[in-house]
């Protein structure tokens, strides 16, 4: 099962390496990770998505908590929370297909942020499922390039 884990850490250099090293050293996989400063510039917020049995996830949260630079760890599994991800996707288009692509993007309330003769670049935020659904629909047109941020989450 996928778990979304929120981690508050000291905003110091080397902290990201500690977290990444913990995952690699103990053989845990990170699906995605996003980091940025919080309102308090001395604290950074990480959102980590990881997979594993409950026992593994319990170890991950405990091992994270053990790090001196980690202030707080919260596993959102079983909690009410809002999650978002952002994607930028450059889709191949022709004069015939452009309208259809724009229509699909419209349904998803995405934005066209760039356009040229042979492609459009779409920006979409939403849950992982929503982004996957858009990408599925765009795939037949030919996806040239794709960048996803990884998930961020906030408790309700």
């Amino acid at each position: 099962m996928k778990h979304t884990i929120s981690v508050l850490v000291e905003n110091k250099f080397g902290v990201l390496a500690r977290i990444a090293g913990l995952f690699s050293g103990r053989g845990y996989n990170i699906d995605s990770l996003s980091v940025a400063e919080t309102m308090d510039p001395s604290v950074s917020q990480m959102t980590i998505v990881a997979q594993g049995e409950d026992r593994i996830i319990e170890q991950i949260t405990k091992q994270l908590n053990k790090l001196v630079d980690v202030i707080k760890v919260q596993d959102y599994a079983g909690e009410e929370y809002i999650e978002r991800e952002l994607v930028l996707v450059k889709t191949h288009t022709t004069s015939e297909t452009r309208a259809e692509v724009m229509q699909i993007v419209g349904i998803f309330r995405g934005k066209i942020v760039d356009v040229d003769r042979a492609s459009v670049t779409v920006e979409l935020t939403g849950t992982e499922d929503k982004i996957d659904a858009l990408l599925n629909l765009l795939k037949p047109f030919g996806i040239r390039e794709l960048v996803r941020t990884g998930k961020i989450a906030i408790a309700r």
């Binding site: 850490v9 000291e10 080397g14 390496a17 500690r18 090293g21 913990l22 050293g25 026992r55 319990e58 170890q59 405990k62 091992q63 908590n65 053990k66 790090l67 001196v68 630079d69 980690v70 202030i71």
Partner: protein, 574 residues
């Protein structure tokens, strides 16, 4: 004050009386201040020796051990020692020099990213980036190393910061928002544990190194006696419960006693205290103690529910929690159980045959008799370590120093030097093998020069014995690279014609003599006691070499990956 002066001031403030290390270009400023300071400085002959000595000092005293080295190779040479201390939760502070801040990342001479290298083998580490934060970092380093589950902390100190001036003062209080260990056990969990203990018919206490770290030996004994529970200890827990006590089962696990392993497997309640269900203890997890409920007391939440399912976890300092538990613990109905355990002890004692040459177990037993368990014993790693664990039978904590988690050959001798530096008047004995001893044999110079009269008992069987034992049992007797007498003229695969074996290298007596230590060689049983007495009498370091039966094996043995009751019990004395 300059950075280098702040370092020494902090060490004095932490009441550091002795430290171990090796100088070099990027740490010279700190050494310059140490020169003439009240701190006793012991120059080892290799930085690894310094790290192990700091570790041995810490294990023997319970205080933080300190080691220091220069950048690059000096720092990387500490790595094995830090990993050893990390695996066994030993409080050590290591200070390393680093190239000046502007040069970091430029592949400067003797530059290594030691903070990156030691990240997974330290409890925490610091790269000091401004002199202003140095006093706080020094304070935090000692705090982190010695509190919670202890462990090594490394401070990497660039040369320009050692030279920089600051007005920053040492903070009075340490306040780290991400580091707040839990010390008191949750009262409700303690009550539940108390009820389980009262209900149990076949309980056993499984005590680890955490009992010694937290100084809980009295509380442990009180619980065992009050509730009528037999006690087995891990390798690191040796000394946490006196092995002379009727309730003691000695060590459990791969080379543990038959009765300790039987007791674990048959128990209906395991009270794990400051232990972590290591694979060398549990054997095959799926078959481990199938009928037991488990209470697990530990200060590290990550140790709980890691390997086995625990029914009652209690996070807290072992000493506090046992104190809380003792207030409510009652004796359960364990009479029958204690009789069964006593019968196992009678039926399956530790045993070895004294036929066919001098036996290493005999040497250790004789040492134990002569010292009455009063000596501080440090071991290296291998067969001799397991025999020491079986036959030393320590009665006090902090008298058996051994590398359990990492299993570091070369640990014992420098660790003993650290212990001897802490206790100049006590007898410190190293039990080593001819393989392990050569991994840090250069520290003989340190021992002689610093008047650290440790007694090194080298059990010489001419093999890397533990690996040879595995080769004999699991690799069809193919002794690949474990014979220390082997030379270039030997056939590719040994044909076992012992008559033509090359002479053993080195001559340990000559090595001892070359360094100015005393050397004794013993080949027969009757010489053992007189030789040991002589070694203990001499006021200088002694290397006592015992030429022991070459292919003696450590038994009992639970093969790796087997269930605990699948023991090879070893010899039948009848």
């Amino acid at each position: 004050m300059k950075g280098c002066e702040i370092v020494v001031e902090a060490l004095l403030r932490e009441k550091v009386e002795v430290m171990f290390g090796y100088p070099g270009g990027m740490i010279m400023d700190v050494f310059d201040v140490l020169y003439g300071s009240p701190i006793r400085f012991i120059l080892t002959r290799h930085e690894q020796g310094a790290a192990h000595a700091a570790d041995g000092y810490a294990r023997a005293t319970g205080r933080v051990g300190v080691c220091i080295a220069t950048s690059g190779p000096g720092a990387t040479n500490l790595v094995t020692g830090l990993a050893t201390a990390y695996m066994d939760s030993v409080p050590v502070v290591a200070i390393t020099g680093q190239v000046p801040t502007p040069m970091i990342g430029n592949d400067a001479f003797q530059e290594a990213d030691i903070v990156g290298i030691t990240r997974p083998i330290t409890k925490h580490n610091f790269l000091v980036s401004t002199v202003e934060e140095l006093p706080r970092i020094l304070r935090e380093a000692f705090h982190i190393a010695s509190t919670g589950r202890p462990g090594p902390v490394l401070i990497d100190l660039p040369k320009d910061i050692q030279k920089a001036e600051t007005d920053a003062r040492m903070p009075e209080k340490v306040e780290i928002r991400g580091y707040k260990p839990t010390y008191a056990g949750h009262p409700q969990q303690v009550r539940r544990a108390g009820a389980e203990i009262a209900r149990a018919k076949r309980p056993v206490i499984y005590a680890g190194g955490g009992v010694i770290s937290s100084g809980a030996e009295r509380e442990l004994k009180a619980l065992a006696v009050k509730a009528g529970i037999p006690v087995t200890t891990t390798l690191l827990g040796l000394g946490a419960f006196p092995e002379t006590h009727a309730l003691s089962l000695g060590m459990l696990g791969m080379h543990g006693t038959v009765y300790a392993n039987y007791a674990m497997m048959e128990s209906d309640l395991i009270v794990a205290v400051g232990a972590r269900f290591d694979d060398r203890v549990t054997g095959k997890l799926a078959a481990f103690a199938p009928n037991a409920r488990i209470i697990h007391i530990d200060i590290d939440p990550a140790s709980v529910q890691k390997n086995v399912k625990v029914h009652i976890p209690i996070i807290g300092d072992v000493r506090n929690v046992l104190g809380q538990l003792n207030e409510i613990a009652r004796k359960g109905d364990t009479g029958e159980w204690l009789k069964r355990v006593a019968a196992w002890k009678r039926e399956h004692p530790l045993a070895y045959s004294r036929k066919d040459g001098l036996k290493p177990q005999f040497v250790i037993e004789t040492m134990r008799e002569l010292t009455k368990g009063e000596a501080i014993v440090a071991t290296d790693v291998g067969q001799h370590q397991m025999w020491a664990a079986q036959y030393c039978r320590p009665v006090r904590p902090r008298t058996f120093l051994t590398s359990g988690g990492l299993g570091t050959m070369g640990y014992g001798f420098p660790a003993a030097l650290g212990a001897q530096a802490a206790f100049p008047d006590r007898l410190v004995v190293v039990i080593s093998g001819d393989g392990s001893f050569q991994m840090n044999i250069q520290e003989l110079a340190t021992a002689v020069e610093n008047d650290l009269p440790v007694k090194v008992l080298v059990l010489n069987n001419g093999y890397l014995g533990m690996v040879r034992q595995w080769q004999q049992l699991f690799y069809k007797g193919r002794y690949a690279s474990t014979c220390l007498a082997r030379d270039a003229r030997c056939p590719t695969i040994c044909d076992g014609k012992a008559k033509k074996c090359p002479p053993y290298v080195p001559d340990f007596l000559k090595v001892a003599e070359a360094y100015g230590a005393a050397g004794i060689r013993v080949e027969r049983e009757r010489e053992v006691a007189p030789a040991l007495r002589e070694a203990f009498r001499i006021r200088k370091p002694v290397v006592a070499e015992f030429i022991v039966a070459r292919e003696e094996n450590v038994f009992p043995m639970v093969p790796a990956g087997a269930a605990m009751q699948e023991m090879i019990k070893g010899i039948d004395l009848a």
